[in-house]
Symmetry: T
Subunit: 155 residues, 12 copies
C-alpha cells in the first residue's frame, strides 16, 4: 500500500507525530465533553453558557481536523476513533445527568487549563522537530487560552 | 436540583428516551469514524471520498445535536461522552492506519446500513410513544438512506 | 363570491380547521405576550432573556403564518384579529408594567407548557382527519418543546 | 423593584409616553389586520396585494418594536397585550371570512389614512415634549404615508 | 452490474417505488407545463402569473429530484425520460400558442387539484409500506396545496 | 386575442423561430436526460459525474428558458410540452435502469456532440435572419462545447 | 489637452460614435421616462407595473453607462446632459400628471418599439465599422426586446 | 380619474410640493451631470474622481426617487422628464468634450454648493408646512453637504 | 492652505461646531471606556456584558465618525487626539484592573446618563443654529438612550 | 492516448487555435507584468494605480483561462508555460526595480494598445473560422479597450 | 475578587504583559491619530489617503483588541483609557486643524516606522517569555510593515 | 527616485530578500504549471484533478502576492517577470500537449515536494534574519504540505 512521504527525518517525524496525535485526542474529547455540557446544562446562566460551549466545540472540531490533517501531511496516521479517545484522553470528564452552570464553569476552567498545559509542552518539543507544525500548535494554544479566560472570568 | 418536566408519561418517556440516546451514540460514532476515514484515506478516488465523508460527518453532527436536544426536551439526559460511545456503539469501526478508497466504500456501506436498520426500529417504537420525536427520527433516516445510496453507488 | 375548494371532506375539514385555528390563536398570542415581556423585562438576566424572547416571537410569527395559510389551503378561513385573540386565547397573559427576569422564566414555562398540551391534542385529532396538516402541527410542537426546555433550564 | 430612569420631566414623559403607546397599539393592530387580509384575500389581484400586505405587516412589526422600546427607554411601560389592543385600537377592523381584493384596497386606504391622522397629531404634541421621540414618529409616518399612496394608487 | 440494496422487503419496495415514480412523472410534467405557460402567457395579469408559475416550476423541479433520489435510495430506478412522461402523465396539458391569463388560472387549478388527489392516495398507501418515504410525500403535498390555494384565489 | 409583434419580417421570423424552437427541444431533453443519468448512475466515478450532470442540467434549463423567451420576444410561440419533446427530440436517449459511469461518459459525449452540430447550423442560418438571436445561440454553443470537452476528457 | 486614442480609423470611429451616442440618448431618456411613469402611475395594475418600470429603468441606466464608456474607449465624447437629451431624444414622452396603467402599457410598448427599431439600424451600421461595439449593441437590443415582449404581453 | 388624497391642506401641500419638485429637478440633473463628468474626465486624478462621481450619482438617484415618491404621497405629481429638467434646472452644467480633473473639482464644488443653498431654503419653508417632508429634505442635505466637503477637500 | 467653506454664518457655525466637537469627545471616550470594561470585566454576567459593551463601542465609533465628518462638512476641524480626549472628556472613567459585572452596570448607567444629558443640550442649541446637524445629534441621542435602558434594566 | 474531438475542420481549427494560443500568451504575460508593476510601483498616484493594476490582472487571468479552455474545447492544446511565455510574448515588458507612477501609465497604455491591435486581428481571422470563438475574442477585446481608456485617461 | 490565572510564571508574565500593554497603547493611539488625519485631511490626494487611513485605523482597532484580550488571557490587566494613552504614547501626534496630504504621508511614515521599531523589540523579548504571545506580535508587525510600505510608496 | 526604507540591516535584508524572491519564483511557476495541467488534463479522474489543480493555483497566486509584497515591505524589489521565471525556476515543468491524470499526480507530487524542500531551507535561514518574514514562509509551507499530501494520496 502506498504511503504519504514525510518532509521530516524519522525522529523528528515521531516527536511531531506524537504532539499532533495528543492534540487530536485532547480536542476531540473537548468537543464531546463540550456538547455533553451544552445539552445537560441547567441554571440561571443557561443561555450564556449554552452558547459559549458551542463556540468551544466549534474551535475544538476545527483544530482537531487541522491537527489530524497536519499529522497525515507529515506521514503519520492520526487516530480519532472513540475507543482511542476513551483510552488515551487525559480530560477528567463529566458525570452523567444534569450539570449546574457553576459546575460547568469550574469543570471547563480545569479541562481547558489541563489541555493548555499539554499544548505548551507540545509547542516546546516541536520547536526543533518541526517549526511548521509548531506554528499550528501555537495558533491552537492561543485560541484555547482565550476560551480559558472567558470561561474563568465568570467564576 | 431542578429538572426539565416532560410532556410524556413515564413509560413513553422511557421508550422515546432510549430511541433518542441510541441515535445519539450511532451518530456521534459515525461522525468520529467518518473523520477517521477522511484523514487516513488513500487511493485514486481520494478527493471524491474525502469530500463525501465530510458531508456524512456534517449530517451526523447536526442530527446528533438535534437528537440529544430532543432527549433533554422530553426530560431525558443524553450521554455523548467518549467512554459511553466506546462502550455502547454498535458500529464496527475501522482499523488504524491508511485505508484504501475501496475499503472505505464497503465499510461505510455496512456502517450506514447498520445504523439505518436501527433507526427504522426506533421509528417504529416511537410511533405510539411520541410522534413528535418520531418525526425527527424519520427525517434523520431519510438523510442517512440518501448517504447510503450515494456511497453504495460507487461499488 | 368564489371560495377555495378543499381536498378534504366536510367533517375532516372541520376537525382540521379547528385544530389550525386554535394553533393560530395560541401562536399569535404567544407572539404578543413574548414582545410584551421583551419590552418590560428587568433584572440581572435581562440580556439573555430579551434575546431569547425574540427567538420565541420569531417562531410564533412564522408558524402562525404557516398554520393560517394551511387553514385557507383546506378551505377554512383563519381568524387572527385582535378581538378574536382576546376572546379565544387560553394563554393566561402577563400583568402590565415591569416584569422581573425570574417571573418571565416561570410565566413562559407555564405558557409554553399550556400551548404544548393543546398542540399534542391537535396532533392526535388530525392524524385521521388530515396527515398533511398533522405534519405541520408536529413540526410546530417540536419547536415549542425546544423553547420550553430552554426557558425551563434557567429555573 | 428597580425602574428605568427617564431623561424627561414627568409631564413631558407623560405626553410622549401616550403618543408612543398609541403608536404601539395602532401598529400592532395594523400588523394583525394586515395578516388577516393577507390570508383571507381573494380576487384577480391576489398576488400583488398578498405580497404588498406582507410589506405593510413588516413595517408595522418593525416600528411597533421601535416605538415600544422607545417608550421603555423614557421610563414608560408599553402595553401590547391582545386585550389592550382589542380594547384601545381605533382601527375599524375587517369582517371574518374571504375578502375581495377591491375591498382590501378600500379598507387599507381607510385604515392607513386613520393611523396617519393620529400619527401627525403625535408628531405635533411631541415636538415640545421630546424631539428625540418625535423624530421616530416622523420616520414612522413617512413610511405609512408611502404605503398609503401605494395602496390607494390601485383604486 | 451492482445494484443499490433496499432497506425494504420486496412488496413494500414495490408499493413505495410506484408511489415515488408516479410523483416523479407528475412533478416533471408540472415543471414542463409550468414553463410552457410561463412563456406563452398573455393578459392583464401577465406579470403576477409569469412569476407565480416560476415558483411552481421551482417547487416541481426540487421535489421531482427529491422523489427520484428517494426512489433510487430504496433500490428502485426512477424514470424521468421525455417519452415516459409523455406516455404516463395524467396531467391534461395545454394547447400550443398564446394562453390568456384567466385560462392559466383555471388550467393550473385543475392540474394542481389532480396531482394533489394522486399525492393523497400515495401518502395513504405508503403509510404502511415506508413511513420514511411517506414523510417526503406529505411534505410535497403540503407545498402543492399551498400553490393550489394561491392560484385558485385569483379566480 | 392580442399577439406579440415581431421586430422581424415574416421569413426571417420563421427561420429564427425554427432555430430557437429546435434549441428549446434540444435543451429541455438534455435537462431530462441529464437528470435521468444523475439519478440512475453507478460506478467508481459516481460522485464526479453525479455533480457534473447537475451542472449540465443547470446549463440546459437556463438556456432553454432564454431561447424560449427569445422566441416569444420575436412573436413565435415556443413549445416545450412533454409530448412535443418526445416527438421532436433528436437526442437518442438512455435505456431505463442503472447506468454505469463509463456509459454515461460515452452517451453524453454523443448527446452533446449531436446538439453542438445542430447548434452550429442554427448559428449559421440566423446570421442573416436575426443577429440578435444568433448572439444567444453562439453563447449557448460556447457553453455546450465546454461541457462536451469536460465530459469527453474523462474517456 | 490629452485625448483618448482610438483603435479605429476616423470614418469607422465616426459611424460607431454616432451609433453609441444615439444609444446613450435613447437609454437615458428611457430611464427618465420610466421613472416618470413609476411615480405617477395609477390603476389596478399599479404594483406590477411600478416594479416592472424599475427593472426597465435599471436596464436603461446600466447600458447607458456601458454605451457611453464604450464611446470614450474609442475616443468619442458621449453627451448625456439634460439639454442634449431634451433636444435629441426621439422618444415621444409622457404627459404630466397621473397616468393610468393601461396607458403606461401602450406608451412603453411604443417607446420600446421605437428604440428597438433604432438599435437594429445601429447594429447593422457597426457590423463593418466596429464589431466590438456591435456586440454591445446586440446585447442591449436583446434586453430591450425582452422588456418589449413583457410590457406588450399585458395588453 | 382617481387621485391620491393628501394628508395636508391645500396651501401646505402646495409649499411642500414645490420644495419636493425643486429637489427632484436638482437631483436628477446632478445625476446626469455627474455621469457626464464620470465619462469625459481626464487627468492624473482620473480614478479617484471617476469613482467619487459615481457615489454622487448614486446619492442623487436614490434621493430623487425618494423625493418624487414623497411628492406623490402628498398628492402632488412629480415631473422628472428631460424637457422639464432642461427647462427648470438651475445647475450651470458642463461643456461638452473632455473635462480635466481640476475643473471637475471646481465645477462640482459649485454645483453642490448651489444645490445645498436651495435645499436649506426648502428645509426652512417645509418646517411649518410638513415636518414629515422636511425630515427627508434634511437627510438629503446632510448627504449633499458630505459630498460637498469631500469634493472641496481636493482643491 | 485651502479651507472647507461652510454653509453656515460664523455664529451658527461656532455653536454647531462646539456641539459636534463635544459629541466627538464624548463618543470617543465612550468607545475607549467601553473597550476598557470589555477587557477587564469579571463576574457571573461576564458574557452578556462583554458582548453588550462591544455593541456600545460600535455605536460610539460609528457616530464619533459621523459627528466629526459633520463638523468638517461645516468647516470646523474636529479634534479627536488622545490628549484632547484626556483633557476635555467629562466621562468619569474607570479604575484600572478587574471590574466586577455589577460595577460595570452602574458605571455605564452613569456614563451614558451623563452623555445623554449633554446630548439633549446640544440638540437644543443646534435647533436654531443648524437643523441639519441637529438631526444627526437626535439620531445619536436615540441610540444612546436605547443603550442606557438596556444597561440599566440589568440593575 | 484519447484526444478531444473538434467541432471544426482541420484548417479552421488551426486558424482558431493560433488566435486563441496568441491570446493566452498575451493575457498571461499581461497578468505577470501587471503584478510586477503592482509590487514595484512608487509615486504620488501609488494607491490608485496599485488597485487599478490588480483589476487588469484579474481581467487577464480570467480571460487567459477562458481562452485556454476554449482552445482545448476545439481540440487544440494551449501552452501557458513560463518558457513559452518568455519566448513568444510580444509585450515589451518592464525593467527590474522601482517604477514611477507616470512610467506605469505610459507602459500600460503601450502594452494594452499592442494587445488590442493583435486581438482585433484575431477577431477578424476567426470570423470565418469559428464565430463561437470569435465571440469570446470580441468580449475580451471589449474589456481590454475599457482598461486601455482608463489607464490612458490619467496621462 | 477572583482573578484570571496565568499559564506563565511571574517573570515571563511581567515581560509579556509589558510588551502587550505597549502594543495596546501604540495601536489605540494609532487608531485615534489615523481618524484625526482621516477627518482633517486636504489636498489633491484626499480620496486615496482618506480611504487608506481608514484601513490603517481598522488594523489598529482589530489588533489593539487582540493584544488587550491576549494580556488578560495571561492574567495581566490591559489599560486603554484616554489618560493612559495620552501619558504613555510615544507617537508624536499631529497638530490640530487641516493637514495637507503630503504632510500626512510623512507623518504616518514616521509614526508607523516608530511603532514597527518598538514592535520588533517586543517580538524579541517575548521569544523566550511567551512564544504564544510572540506569534500575535509577529502577525501585528507584518500588517504594520505592509501599511508602512504603502504609505511610504507615495512619497 | 525615492525608495522604501527597510526595518532590517543590510545583511539580514539580503538573506530575507533572497528567500522571498525564491518563493515568488516557485509560486508563480507553480501557478502557471498548475493552469497548464488544469487545461490539458485527460483521463478518468479528470474532474477531481481539474478542480484540485485550481485550488493549488489559487494558493500559489495568493502567496506569490504575499511574498512579493513582503519583499518590497523590507525594501527589496521582487521580480516576477516571465523571463525571470523561465530563467530561475527550478520546477521541472510539463511537456506540451495532453497529460494523463496519473502523470499529473506524479508530476505534482514531485513539483510540490521540490518546492517544500526549498521552502524549509528558507524558513531556516530567515529565523535569525527576519522572524516576521519567517512567519509568512511557515504559513506558505503549511499550505503546500497540505496540497502535497492530498495529491500524493491519490497515487
Amino acid at each position: 500500500m502506498s504511503q504519504i512521504t514525510s518532509p521530516l527525518p524519522a525522529d523528528k517525524q515521531k516527536t511531531t507525530g506524537e504532539a499532533l496525535q495528543g492534540t487530536v485526542i485532547d480536542l476531540l474529547d473537548l468537543s464531546l465533553t463540550g456538547k455533553q455540557a451544552h445539552w445537560n446544562l441547567i441554571g440561571r446562566n443557561f443561555r450564556a453558557l449554552h452558547l459559549q460551549l458551542d463556540e468551544i466545540v466549534a474551535t475544538a472540531r476545527t483544530y482537531a481536523d487541522s491537527a489530524a490533517e497536519r499529522a497525515v501531511a507529515i506521514g503519520v496516521n492520526p487516530d480519532g476513533r472513540a475507543a482511542t479517545i476513551a483510552r488515551d484522553s487525559r480530560i477528567g470528564g463529566l458525570d452523567a445527568g444534569y450539570i449546574e452552570d457553576g459546575k460547568v464553569v469550574s469543570a471547563f476552567t480545569d479541562i481547558l487549563g489541563g489541555i493548555i498545559g499539554r499544548m505548551r509542552e507540545r509547542v516546546q518539543v516541536t520547536e526543533e522537530a518541526d517549526p511548521i507544525s509548531q506554528d499550528l500548535l501555537i495558533e491552537i494554544t492561543q485560541e484555547l487560552e482565550k476560551h480559558h479566560w472567558m470561561v474563568q472570568a465568570q467564576r
